[in-house]
Every structure is written in structure tokens, then in C-alpha cells.
């Protein structure tokens, strides 16, 4: 039994269906990546895991069904989410943003705060800066940090490198790797940056127009003609 199991998932916005029979597994302790072009349904898939989209099919975390549960319950069951565009609280300082993330785990707040500052020392220096005034890179760090504050077992991250300079991407990758190795958190990311995804993740899935087109290890996909054609243009 995989840690995260998704079976035959369809997702709907009103009548429109954005995911078609998505089935995937993420093994405990791994980093997995979903790559796919704009509009493929990456964000929809991650929102579905948090119960934010109307879906049919099954999603299970460590054997426990997430279907029909509220986001609050899903967070309590151990899912942390860093969504597209961050959804930070712009008029709150960094520290308060992080403390909101501790809403479901107030007892771990001090420990988790130390972990976040250890991963992202810049944030400790800027604890009181309002996130509305921060750079994109800093905001991405706050977003990941906030997700960590709920003591998650599964961390779900939507396009962590979008709009970031290579140097910052490198730092983010290093931080994600540390969360995985030192804290034992299973990680699922989406990416359009295939290089980033294949370097970070061991298992990679290709999502196109709401369906899983391909799946395999990072090495397998890097050598796949379709992936080379669609994502590298050669």
C-alpha cells in the first residue's frame, strides 16, 4: 500500500471536467513530481487532495480515505500544502504567517518555527516584514514554511520554482531535499521546469489535458522521446 494513493480521480468545475481518471501512488518517504503544460490540471489535482475541488474517485493517505473530508480535517490528517501563488497573508509579518500555519498544531509551533528558520535563515532575519512587501523567492519560502508548521507527513507543493532565479531554485530544491531526508516528509510537487523536477524527484508523472500520459523514474522519462520532444523541443 502506497502512502498516497489516488484512484480513478475525476475533478469538476461546475460541469467542466478537469481531471480524467487519474490514478497514482506516492511511496512513503519519496519525492514525486508531476510535470505538465499550462492547463494540464496540475493545480486541480493538488487542490483535489486538499478537498477543495468537487471530485469522484478515491484519495487515501496512509490508508485513510480523504474523500468527502474538509480541508481542515485533511490538514489535521497530515497534509501540508504550498499552493500556486502562495496565498499568503499580505498584511501579516512572516512570523504571523507561519503561526497561522500552526493553527492545527499549536503545541508544535515553537519546534516547527525553529525548523523553518533553520531551513530558511533569511526568514528569521525578516520575521516582522509583511509578506505583501517580500520578493517572490522569500514568499515561496514563507509558503513552504507555513505548510511545514502543521507538522505534515505529506507535503504538496505547486510549482515551487515558478518565476524564481536559478540561484533561488537551487536553495528551494535543497530545502525540499532536507525536509524529505531530515524530517522524513513525503513530498509531491508539480513543475513545468522538467530539469528541476527530474533532479529533485525520483518518481515522475506526466499530466496532460487532465490525464496521466506517462510515468516512470526520472531517468526513464528524461530518455523518453515524447518528453524530450514536448519539454525540451528535441
Amino acid at each position: 500500500m502506497a502512502f498516497l494513493e489516488i484512484r480513478n480521480l475525476d475533478a469538476f468545475y461546475g460541469r467542466a471536467r478537469s481531471l480524467h481518471g487519474v490514478t497514482l501512488d506516492v511511496e512513503a518517504g519519496r519525492i514525486a513530481a508531476i510535470i505538465g503544460p499550462n492547463g494540464a490540471g496540475k493545480s486541480t489535482l493538488l487542490d483535489s487532495i486538499l478537498g477543495l475541488v468537487r471530485t469522484t474517485g478515491e484519495i487515501r493517505l496512509d490508508g485513510v480515505s480523504l474523500t468527502g473530508r474538509s480541508a481542515t480535517e485533511i490538514v489535521r490528517l497530515g497534509v501540508g500544502y504550498a499552493p500556486e501563488r502562495g496565498h499568503l497573508f499580505p498584511f501579516m509579518g512572516v512570523r504571523d504567517n507561519l503561526l497561522v500555519g500552526a493553527h492545527t498544531a499549536p503545541r508544535d509551533a515553537e519546534r516547527n518555527l525553529r525548523r523553518v528558520f533553520d531551513l530558511f535563515p533569511v526568514l528569521e532575519e525578516r520575521q516582522n516584514q509583511e509578506t505583501g512587501t517580500q520578493s517572490g523567492g522569500e514568499r515561496q519560502m514563507v509558503s513552504l514554511g507555513r505548510a511545514l508548521m502543521s507538522s505534515p507527513r505529506l507535503l504538496v507543493v505547486d510549482e515551487p520554482t515558478i518565476g524564481l532565479a536559478p540561484r533561488v531554485c537551487h536553495d528551494i530544491a535543497a530545502a525540499l531535499r532536507r525536509m524529505n531526508e531530515e524530517l522524513g516528509i513525503t513530498i509531491l510537487i508539480t513543475e513545468q521546469n522538467v530539469n528541476f523536477a527530474t533532479h529533485l524527484a525520483r518518481d515522475v508523472l506526466v499530466l496532460e489535458t487532465g490525464e496521466i500520459r506517462l510515468r516512470g523514474t526520472a531517468d526513464e522519462l528524461m530518455n523518453n522521446p515524447h518528453v524530450r520532444e514536448a519539454y525540451f523541443g528535441h
Binding site: L50, L52, Y81, F91, M92, L99, V100, M149
Partner: protein, 283 residues
């Protein structure tokens, strides 16, 4: 001059208390509670019934009024607002209807005759031509204490932070494990309690009548429009702007015109700075 200053300060404190719950509901749920004035009125009538009909002590009377306001807030949210939340216009229309219905119910129970309320703190402060009732001074001090407490609550506690989070980014709050409906419920309870407290003092400042919900509603709307805010400190500032303007109008121009000037201010701000002086809706 000193008289205007002190009267203005005292009235402004009361106005801040009148408006703050209204602004909180607006910033957390992005809906206007047009029954806000009714919450004040209920607070007034609850206090009147407890203290002047049943002879309960004033302190207990205030507590009863606050609890009644909070309960009515919870009831209004669960029965009405929760179902219409996705449509702010529907919330506004239905809370206005609620206000009219409550006015009718109050007439049935208490008749439409005004009830005069005894001052909660009797006596008048007199000093070199300055005179202010102890009652309104008490209202001012109480508002400052309550508003100060509210600022600390919103900034320093887990629940307060969660309320601010919902007001700034609902999805961000939801994925942090916050249930926005519970936060709205909490806001309606707090707002109802604060409004009822304000109502007790407002009723002693004016009169207890079934139509008394209109004036505080206008003040609350004015504070939101002029301030453009969920900031509690911001509503305090704007309440002072309006409170002083009304005191000056009452003293130097004509008492009948004071509400008119407030409405003119509202329209001027809408035209010149549509987002309000503070340009922000988040708590």
C-alpha cells in the same frame, strides 16, 4: 471649545464601539450586516428589561445584554447568513429585512413609545463651563478598553490570527486548517456582543425606541466607507473624525444637521477615494 473637545472625544469613543463589530463582519466575511443597528437596539431593550423592569443589578444587566447580542449574532449567522454567504447582496437585503421585522416585533412587545433609560453612571462632570455626563465618559473609557482588548485579541491570539487570516486570504486560511465558517460564526458572536454593549450606552445617550437601529447603522456604514477598513485602529480614527464632526455641527450649526454632514462625508469619500482613507478591507 474644551466642551466640544470633551463631548467629541466621548461621543467618538461610543461611535467606535458602535462601528467595530460591523467592520469585523465586513472584513472577515465581506458582507455588510444591515441588521447591525438591531443588535444595538436588542442590547438596549435587553438591558432595559433586566434592570428597569425586573430590577436586576446594572452589571448583570450589561452582561445579559451582551450575551443576548452574541446569541442573536450566532442565530442570525446560522439561520440566515450562512446560507447566503456566497451572495453579499442577498445577505444585505435579508439583514435589512431582518431589521424591519425586529423593529415590528419590538413594537409588539414594548409598544412604539420611547422608553427613557436611566444613566448607567449617573451624574454630570462640570468644570469651568465644561459639562459632560458621566455616562458618556464611562462609555468612552469602556470603548477604549474594549477596543484595546480587541486589538490585542486579534493580533496576539490564535483565534484572532485565524480571523485576520480569513480576512486576508480565504484559501490561504483554509489550507492552513482554518474553518472559515467557524471564524464567521465567531465574528458574528463577537460583533453581536459588542454591538449590544454599545447599544446599552447608545440607548442611554439617546432614547430607547423601536426605530433606534437606524442611526447607529448609518454611523457604522459611514465608518466602513470612510475608513475603507477592517483595521480596528482605523475604525477608531474614523469614528473620531465622524464623532468630532457631529459634535461641532451640533454645537455650532444645528443639531438636526449632524447626520446629514456624516452622509455628505460618506458621498465625498466615495467619489474622491472609493477605497476609503485607509484603502484596505482586511482585518
Amino acid at each position: 471649545m474644551t466642551n466640544i473637545l470633551i463631548q467629541g472625544l466621548a461621543l467618538s469613543g461610543l461611535y467606535a464601539l458602535v462601528a467595530v463589530g460591523f467592520t469585523m463582519i465586513f472584513s472577515v466575511g465581506r458582507v455588510l450586516n444591515l441588521a447591525h443597528g438591531v443588535f444595538l437596539m436588542l442590547g438596549g431593550y435587553a438591558y432595559y428589561t433586566a434592570v428597569q423592569v425586573f430590577g436586576i443589578s446594572k452589571g448583570a444587566g450589561i452582561a445579559i445584554a451582551v450575551l443576548a447580542g452574541a446569541a442573536f449574532g450566532i442565530l442570525t449567522y446560522t439561520v440566515l447568513v450562512r446560507r447566503l454567504e456566497h451572495n453579499p447582496i442577498a445577505v444585505e437585503i435579508s439583514t435589512l429585512i431582518l431589521a424591519v421585522v425586529m423593529q415590528a416585533l419590538i413594537v409588539v412587545v414594548y409598544t412604539s413609545a420611547p422608553k427613557s433609560m436611566w444613566p448607567i453612571v449617573p451624574g454630570v462632570f462640570r468644570h469651568e463651563g465644561v459639562f459632560v455626563s458621566h455616562n458618556i465618559l464611562a462609555a468612552m473609557v469602556l470603548s477604549w478598553i474594549v477596543l484595546g482588548g480587541l486589538v490585542v485579541f486579534v493580533r496576539r491570539t490564535r483565534l484572532g490570527r485565524a480571523l485576520r487570516a480569513v480576512s486576508m486570504d480565504r484559501k490561504g486560511a483554509v489550507i492552513s486548517g482554518i474553518d472559515p465558517h467557524r471564524m464567521s460564526l465567531a465574528t458574528w458572536a463577537i460583533s453581536g456582543g459588542l454591538a449590544a454593549l454599545a447599544g446599552v450606552f447608545f440607548a442611554t445617550y439617546t432614547q430607547l425606541t423601536p426605530g433606534m437601529w437606524v442611526a447607529p447603522l448609518i454611523i457604522a456604514v459611514a465608518v466602513v466607507v470612510v475608513g475603507g477598513i477592517g483595521s480596528i485602529v482605523g475604525s477608531l480614527v474614523v469614528a473620531h473624525l465622524i464623532g468630532f464632526m457631529e459634535t461641532v455641527t451640533t454645537t455650532l450649526v444645528a443639531a438636526e444637521l449632524r447626520g446629514v454632514f456624516t452622509m455628505v462625508l460618506v458621498i465625498v469619500v466615495l467619489v474622491i477615494v472609493p477605497k476609503g482613507l485607509f484603502g484596505r478591507e482586511e482585518l
